[in-house]
């Protein structure tokens, strides 16, 4: 359910209309420009005894539309209340109950996401399918963005263990422009050196050969959004790392961590390849859910894809809807425009992607 101009009353009314039972939780996915008193909302939801979780994102997706305001309200089967992680680096995860699918929402601008996901995988491995993304603001200013019954939290995560199966597809459509290059000096999400030289200088030298405009610090984001990094994964799409800023010393600040000495490619996006990747993801889901009853499709689409595709982003959502419509008469599509995407490939660790689209098909519980 999407509410374009939600109020506390309409949100509560909608939730009450969903009549969640004790084994059901409500997800609330907010566009960052929604005007609402979250503190009061949390208080009233708590008073009503509603189990809920959610986050504030740069945008939300409903069917083939994306919005920067409003709320998407969805009910899930869950035998346990959402788990709130306020210490991404150290909080014990091993004692948490397991479920079929973990919907993971994390502060997308936290620097401890990789550690958190590693610990999560260490505790639960791949017996759980993971889908989720980074919450936060497109302004890239970190602020409280994870919605829990304890309020809006910053530098935190919330995990909802859902008793429903999910089929996943991860695609991004970014193509290798140049590589390999070596990120020989990194720390967490910052690249200091590439090929043993100043990171920005190496990056600029490559980008400037391809871009119509020379990349500078003042237009960095505008141009860099079309030239992310890719970290190779055997038998799967590269993990994309999105450079979002350049530091005073020429260091490149990315969304998500880059391992020291990681072998990177510089990727380049084309509108069609990205849209094609979306279609491929939808087709993957189609194949995976053949003969199954899908409750809804959950889309985690990177906000930077909207920035890159701009007006063509609608085509991406259209192609997803259309591809799914071919196999599913009335697919319900909801999702988020995220600061980083979370998924397991179904075989390996949980990764924090950038500029990627994760499609998840929730089966009926």
């Amino acid at each position: 359910m999407y509410l374009a101009k939600p109020s506390i009353q309409t949100v509560i009314q909608t939730i009450q209309d969903l009549s969640p039972n004790p084994n059901e939780v409500i997800s609330l996915l907010w566009g960052e420009h929604t005007s609402i008193d979250f503190e009061l909302l949390v208080q009233q939801l708590n008073e009503l005894g509603v189990q809920f979780f959610g986050g504030i994102f740069p945008g939300i997706i409903h069917q083939n539309q994306n919005y920067t305001q409003g709320v998407i309200i969805q009910k899930y089967s869950s035998s346990s209340p959402p788990k709130i992680i306020t210490n991404l680096e150290n909080q014990d995860l091993s004692k948490m109950e397991q479920g079929k699918t973990a919907l993971v929402l994390v502060d997308g601008l936290s620097s401890d996401i990789a550690v958190f996901l590693s610990r999560l995988y260490n505790a639960w491995g791949n017996v759980v399918n993971y889908i989720g993304g980074g919450a936060g603001s497109l302004s890239l200013q970190q602020q409280p963005c994870i919605l829990t019954n304890k309020g809006l939290l910053e530098n935190a995560a919330v995990i909802c263990l859902i008793d429903q199966n999910i089929e996943l597809s991860v695609q991004h459509g970014w193509q290798r422009l140049q590589g390999p290059i070596i990120a020989n000096k990194t720390h967490k999400n910052v690249i200091y050196e590439l090929n043993w030289q100043n990171a920005f200088e190496v990056y600029k030298a490559i980008i400037d050969q391809d871009s119509a405009n020379s990349i500078q610090s003042d237009n960095f984001f505008q141009i860099a959004k079309g030239y992310p990094f890719g970290m190779e994964v055997e038998g799967a799409e590269a993990i994309v790392r999105d450079p979002i800023a350049v530091g005073e010393q020429g260091e490149l600040i990315c969304v998500g961590e880059i391992d020291n000495n990681a072998v990177l490619d510089i990727l380049k996006g084309k509108t069609q390849t990205l849209i094609d990747s979306a279609q491929q993801a939808a087709l993957d889901i189609k194949n995976l859910t053949t003969g199954q009853s899908t409750q809804h499709i959950f889309v985690v689409d990177c906000i930077s894809r909207t920035l890159f595709l701009q007006d063509d982003f609608g085509k991406e959502l259209d192609v997803i809807q259309q591809s799914l419509q071919q196999t599913n008469t009335a697919p319900k599509i909801i999702g988020i425009l995220s600061l980083g995407e979370i998924s397991s490939t179904g075989n390996g660790p949980i990764y924090f992607y950038n500029k990627t689209m994760v499609l998840g098909a929730f089966s009926e519980s």
């Binding site: 491995g125 038998g235 020291n260 072998v263």
Partner: protein, 575 residues
């Protein structure tokens, strides 16, 4: 390898993996980082490193037991220790890896999905690296797996380095701990040696002092510098004890320990008595390299002991020189002490008497039961009728002779124990003397009684005729005699009266000796008494031509009260 892109990809993979090797000297961290990169790059579901126990020495027998050093993710780890069989070793041989059979190779079983395929890389002689990938994974391509062998070899070396480093680190730490422990122990030892109340002295084989503690200064007055290098028995022992100490030192060198007491010469000339505990001083291999001597100052104890000894000597002297027999018995009447005079009086030596029941020694058989009852009564009530007083009882000598003794028994309580001391005197002679005196007195009494009877008889026998003489004389005087005759008759009567008086005096004397004499109190004429005395004296002096005259003061009354007869006698015996 199909084309340049593939080669490039492989090179980049190997490059990244190579640089992920050996990022830490901590085995776990090294494995964790390498596996993290390996898993990301190879898109693996699980990876784990199994190692044999680190060999304690080069000749150690190869182990079949492996321990999981690091596995990721942890949730898939269901065992930490496994035993690997020989067949697998043989199958692996010198190969760098093998793909395990899911159905038969169960020894590394995890809860992996049935689709997972397990691959085992050999980490040299250290163990194995186990990874799981989907059966459909391109990783299962043999060439791809083989391409990783050199990286795995490099990883093996890095793990070996980590293990060696950790071993060295562990040994270094252990050594440091041991060293620290030794230093602490040494400091403790020094502190103990410094602060103990005992003086300590160590000598070399020749007896030269090589170590002393501070306490030795208090004991001897010599400081460390003055003591070390000197022979202890020269500096601290008087000449009369020196040879004895030298002999004792030689015993140390034979491995013999000893404890003894000795007077030490103090630097100030005084003597300090010490208790010495001397042991052989050995090196770490047990060889005797000198003597270790501990000194305790016992001067005060010695002084106290001497005082006690002297006191005991005095006491023993007193006991031995006492004229009385002194016997001490315990609460059961067994003899605990028996002095010299007890030996003399009773005939038993001290050795014969000690620990024997007193009653069988000196108490006549007829009195033994009452003696025992008395003891029991005192122990029960604290009361004793014969205690703390002089009593006389018969006693028995060793010879069986019974004889009288005078004794005084006193109870003595020492702590919870009761003793009784008996001071016993042989009074055989005294008793004999007493009996002789009594007999003599009785004889004297009988003699006096006979004398009194004789005098009474004699008085009676004389008085009767004398009364007749005096009576007849009185009649004669009234028979008209001439003056001359009358005068003679009067003189006769006076003499008769005097004789009667003498007889009375004899009786009086007898009464005085018997303590029965009493003076009369009757009125009489003092003038008549004096007139008669004048006439008696004049008559006696008439042949000497001496005149006897009397003069009586007019103030003297004629009648007075007194014993006229004794007064008359007294005048006659007055010179």
């Amino acid at each position: 390898m199909k084309d340049l892109t593939e080669i490039t990809k492989t090179i980049s993979l190997l490059y990244e993996l190579s640089l992920a090797v050996g990022t830490s000297l901590d085995t776990q961290e090294n494995c964790a980082h390498f596996l993290y990169i390996l898993m990301r790059r190879m898109n693996l579901a699980y990876a784990g490193v199994w190692l044999y126990p680190y060999p304690q020495n080069k000749d150690a027998k190869p182990s079949k037991q492996l321990k999981l050093v690091y596995g990721y993710p942890k949730f898939r780890i269901i065992q930490q220790d496994i035993s690997i069989d020989d067949s697998l070793k043989q199958r692996l041989g010198e190969k760098s890896f093998i793909v395990l059979n899911k159905d038969t190779d169960q020894f590394l079983k995890t809860d992996q999905n049935s689709d997972d395929q397990s691959i085992l890389y050999r980490l040299g002689d250290l163990g194995f690296l186990n990874i799981y990938a989907l059966s459909s994974s391109s990783l299962l391509d043999t060439v791809r797996l083989y391409s990783l062998k050199d990286v795995m070899s490099k990883f093996t070396h890095s793990v070996r380095a980590c293990l060696a480093y950790e071993k060295a680190h562990e040994e270094t730490n252990r050594r440091l701990e041991v060293q620290k422990s030794l230093e602490l122990s040494e400091e403790k030892y020094r502190s103990v040696v410094r602060n103990i109340a005992e003086g300590l002295l160590i000598t070399d084989l020749e007896g030269n002092i090589i170590f002393t503690n501070d306490r030795m200064f208090d004991l001897t007055g010599f400081n460390y510098e003055e003591l070390t290098g000197r022979k202890g028995y020269d500096l601290l022992v008087s000449p009369i004890h020196r040879s004895e100490v030298i002999e004792k030192h030689s015993q140390r060198l034979k491995g013999i320990s000893e404890q003894y007491e000795l007077p030490l010469k103090h630097k100030n000339g005084t003597t300090t008595w010490v208790s010495i505990r001397a042991n052989p001083y050995r090196d770490s291999e047990g060889n005797i390299i000198g003597s270790l001597v501990a000194f305790i100052n016992i001067t005060d104890k010695k002084i106290a002991e001497n005082k006690i000894r002297e006191s005991q000597k005095k006491l023993q002297l007193i006991l031995d020189t006492s004229l009385d027999a002194i016997i001490i018995v315990d609460s059961k009447s067994f003899v605990t002490d028996w002095n010299h005079n007890a030996e003399r009086i009773f005939g038993y030596t001290k050795a014969e008497a000690i620990s024997k029941p007193l009653s069988t020694l000196i108490i006549p058989p007829r009195m033994r039961s009452s003696h025992q009852e008395g003891m029991s009564h005192y122990m029960a009530t604290g009361e004793g009728s014969v205690l703390d007083q002089r009593i006389e009882l018969p006693a028995l000598r060793k010879s069986g002779e019974e004889f009288p003794v005078e004794l005084n028994i006193s109870p003595i309580r020492i702590g919870e124990d009761f003793f009784f001391s008996a001071f016993i005197r042989d009074i055989t002679k005294r008793k004999a003397n007493e009996n002789a005196l009594i007999q003599a007195k009785q004889a004297a009494e009988q003699s006096r009684q006979a004398e009194r009877q004789f005098l009474a008889h004699m008085s009676h026998e004389i008085r009767t005729p004398m009364n007749a003489v005096i009576g007849m004389t009185h009649l004669l005087m009234n028979s008209g005699l001439s003056d001359m005759q009358l005068e003679y008759a009067q003189a006769l009567k006076f003499s008769g009266d005097s004789l009667m008086s003498i007889i009375s005096d004899v009786l009086d004397l007898s009464k005085i000796e018997a303590g029965e004499f009493t003076l009369e109190r009757r009125p009489f004429s003092i003038q008549r008494l004096i007139h008669n005395l004048q006439r008696t004296y004049q008559f006696n002096m008439q042949d000497k031509n001496v005149s006897v005259t009397t003069e009586i003061d007019a103030e003297i009354k004629n009648q007075v009260i007194g014993d006229k007869t004794r007064l008359n006698h007294a005048s006659k015996f007055t010179e």
